[in-house]
Symmetry: C2
Subunit: 501 residues, 2 copies
């Protein structure tokens, strides 16, 4: 029930955004003045070859058919691919890459295309390898919680499947209705459950991936412990398809919590949020499964643009605390105790606590739709950064001062428990002036605070030139060596992750 509602709202937002602006986004190559690298161009013979290894209907070359695969969902990037391939098996992926590598044809792997940094769409005429047809669940071992599946499985479908067997996927994203597990793994997706179940480097048990030359690297182990190094799967987790294409995933699914409760609280200032986080960690301990914040601007905009109800009044900040546990009575007692203590302390001004599925969904909708809701007002510059907790919210007031009336709104929300804040700057339409006032400024400030310029969205096409703010030169050098080793012709997702120089 919860998931269906969430999906509907999410799709709604996307549709509204689509209708709000029918014009095609500018070509990425023009907008960002990209220099084309030396790759081959797709010829008729190539299309013929691909049709010989895939069926005809899985090779798209009609411009109308190809167009949607060229555009990312926030309509920021538009590539110029002329060919989309939809493999159904690892063997097909291997044949495609072997051929492309030989002919030096560049490739853009694509999952659900829900990324926010332009990583999943081509820049020039890279061939799109789309994984939507590799969507089989291969096995689920219920006692150990081990799921094995193909990379094109949609996250929400997997979650529904394992929930019926008393398990839960260890990650949850706003985009779960569209994003694919292969894309999640390739981009090391974070999301709402990271606080509780950790990141994908911890929960992915094994990976099967295809290297640029078509070699299949089989690290598809299903064991919780396999200490026969090197632990190669991590090369493919979070390298965004630049070192290999993930074709299968084995992942550990934790037990489905028997009881879930949600608190939504109004808070006076950000310092109180940090105190509340410390208090929640202590009082709620092992049942704490989310600790999220949003400022007034984030919530007001969502309420207004999507006509969603806010169950509490207007406050400077909002905190959302979720607990997931195995005993409803125990969990309720812990949450009530926490609430009583913090109402008394004055850190919580007002709030609501619920275990009712519909009411919880109303609250989650508010939080999860912030990203999409703001798009309705125009263009939004989106930053996804990590900062040490003490400096978590610093940049929002700082940017408001810097940008003044040049922008409609600066707002921040995110996963406090993980030090991850999403900073959004809303303008009526894309403005190069605002862009230049934001970048590299925001990355410089993040670097000064020892933060990360990309907490969970990845590097993609949008951030390679800023990656040095988060990676030192020796690390960047090693990255380039790895790329050279694994993809010497550079055909895999070019223009992404690695800086030019």
């Amino acid at each position: 029930m919860k998931n269906t509602l969430k999906l509907l709202t999410y799709c709604n937002v996307i549709n509204q955004v689509r209708y709000a602006s029918q014009a095609l986004p500018q070509l990425t190559s023009e907008k960002y003045k990209v220099t084309k690298q030396q790759f081959g161009h797709v010829q008729e013979n190539d299309v013929k070859y691909f049709k010989s290894i895939l069926s005809d209907d899985r090779v798209l070359s009609d411009p109308n058919d190809v167009l949607p695969f060229n555009i990312d969902w926030i309509k920021n990037c538009r590539g110029q691919s002329k060919l989309v391939l939809k493999p159904k098996t690892t063997q097909e992926v291997s044949l495609i890459l072997e051929y492309c590598n030989e002919k030096r044809l560049a490739v853009c792997p694509q999952g659900g295309n829900t990324g926010l940094v332009g990583g999943s769409v081509p820049v020039f005429d890279e061939i799109v390898v789309n994984f939507m047809l590799m969507n089989k669940i291969i096995s689920l071992e219920e006692l150990s919680g081990t799921l094995v599946c193909e990379s094109g499985c949609i996250l929400e479908n997997l979650d529904n499947y394992v929930r019926e067997r008393n398990l839960v996927m260890p990650l949850d994203l706003g985009a779960k209705g569209s994003c694919q597990i292969g894309g999640n793994v390739s981009t090391n997706a974070g999301g709402l459950r990271l606080l509780r179940y950790g990141n994908l480097h911890g929960s992915v048990l094994g990976v099967e991936a295809v290297k640029a030359d078509g070699t299949v690297i089989n690290c598809l182990r299903t064991l919780k412990k396999d200490n026969t190094g090197y632990h190669l799967k991590h090369l493919f987790i979070g390298s965004e398809g630049t070192l290999g294409l993930v074709t299968k995933v084995a992942i550990h699914c934790p037990a489905l919590p028997k009881a879930v409760s949600l608190g939504f609280f109004g808070v006076k200032n950000f310092d109180n949020i940090l105190d509340l986080y410390a208090s929640a960690k202590s009082s709620l301990g092992e049942i704490l499964s989310a600790f999220e914040m949003a400022d007034n601007e984030s919530i007001s905009c969502t309420v207004k643009n999507l006509n969603l109800p806010n169950p509490i009044a207007d406050y400077p900040f909002y905190v959302l605390v979720e607990t997931s546990g195995s005993d409803e009575a125990h969990d309720a007692e812990k949450l009530s105790r926490f609430l009583a203590k913090e109402m008394e302390s004055g850190r919580i001004i007002d709030g609501t606590v619920t275990s009712d599925a519909t009411k919880m969904q109303t609250i989650w909708n508010l939080r999860e739709n912030i990203a999409g809701a703001s798009l309705i007002d125009g263009y939004v510059f989106k930053y996804d950064v990590s900062l040490p907790l003490r400096s978590y919210y610093n940049l929002v007031p700082q940017l408001r001062e810097r940008l003044g009336k040049k922008v409609s709104k600066v707002f921040g929300y995110g996963h406090v428990g993980d030090g991850n804040i999403h900073i959004n700057v809303s303008v009526p339409e894309y403005s190069p002036e605002v862009s230049s006032m934001l970048e590299p400024y925001i990355y410089e400030e993040v670097a000064k605070l020892n933060g990360s310029i990309s907490a969970e969205h990845g590097v993609g096409f949008r951030k390679p030139q800023y990656i040095h703010y988060s990676k030192d030169p020796s690390a960047l050098h090693l990255m380039k060596q790895l790329k050279q080793l694994m993809d010497p012709k550079g055909i895999l997702n070019p223009y992404k992750v690695l800086p030019d120089i």
Copy 2:
């Protein structure tokens, strides 16, 4: 209190083992017929150089001083190093490696030397780089639970330090009183808390490491989320010092549980153990922090050899269930409910549940001392494998049948929650005949069951020739390419992890 007791017992075992057998172990190179690789030999000039960058007292070359660094603690391996270096800083490690790389002098990195696969001692005359003096805690951010420290910090010291600040280290090993965090990270150590807090690929936030040529790779991020790939730290986690030497570690420490309880149960057969595990996962949920098993032979031997008390009677199998939570009353209620249900079901024949620190320690002592206790009877062949849960205990009876009267005992114990069983074969003294009946047989059987030939101990010196049972040829090829890329002269921990061919 708990930790002090545990440490004492652990040291005790080591001392008893040492006294029990004063003879030096056979040279590794002879025992295993190793072919020496082409490296330089340490000359007087080299020693002089090392003394110029370290102080004299940190360069050991007297054979008596060097001897202990040549022998692993289970006295299975003995190297022939003539030189031990004890750097105090990353800069010193960098200078050492730069020099060794230039002169093609092989290096064996060494932490607490508590490994079980011969990974931390030299095979021939590799220079030992010991990290014991790099033992500074650099910072601890209490709210986010971020600890940064040098690699030579002893795990137990770190745990004591963070416990005083209401945090806990995310890993716990029997060897915690001696093992070092740098060694833990390099070997991707598992241990007793993996079930609860996951593996080190998930909890290590950042690493600083030195490559073979002396380049310092600084990936010492302290953020929970930093999605600027590539995620290079994973190259150093679990590659056992063959791709670089870990010099600093940033690690996430979870909140210290406020209440810990322990149950120790007698069980009739292994099937009941699996049923109990499913039941514990469901009833205890998020507070389940350990689910361990040991067979009768494991516990009897420990009770007898170390004169330890067993709080319950003699049973075919024992199960140890630990809960760690934030509310004593809630946790006790959950554990009692589980116990009542499973006494009723007959899966638990007898048991004891306690929250008393001393009593809990008595039980943990029984479990944690199994590894050492059996050594008192003679030589023990030790195997550390992962298996799918349904086949978890299969190999123990199978080996008993295969080996018959040729061995004193075959016993198994381990971390059921992680599919990890330690299979031990005890003999009066090392026997090549038994060895050849065990290897590669045991690895072949593990491979047939899709298990791992090394669940947590790593590959080290002992298992490279068997690694193909757990890694496919394409993965092995990529491992070799990575080694060639990062350590082209092969000076880092040679004869370890990678197979010869």
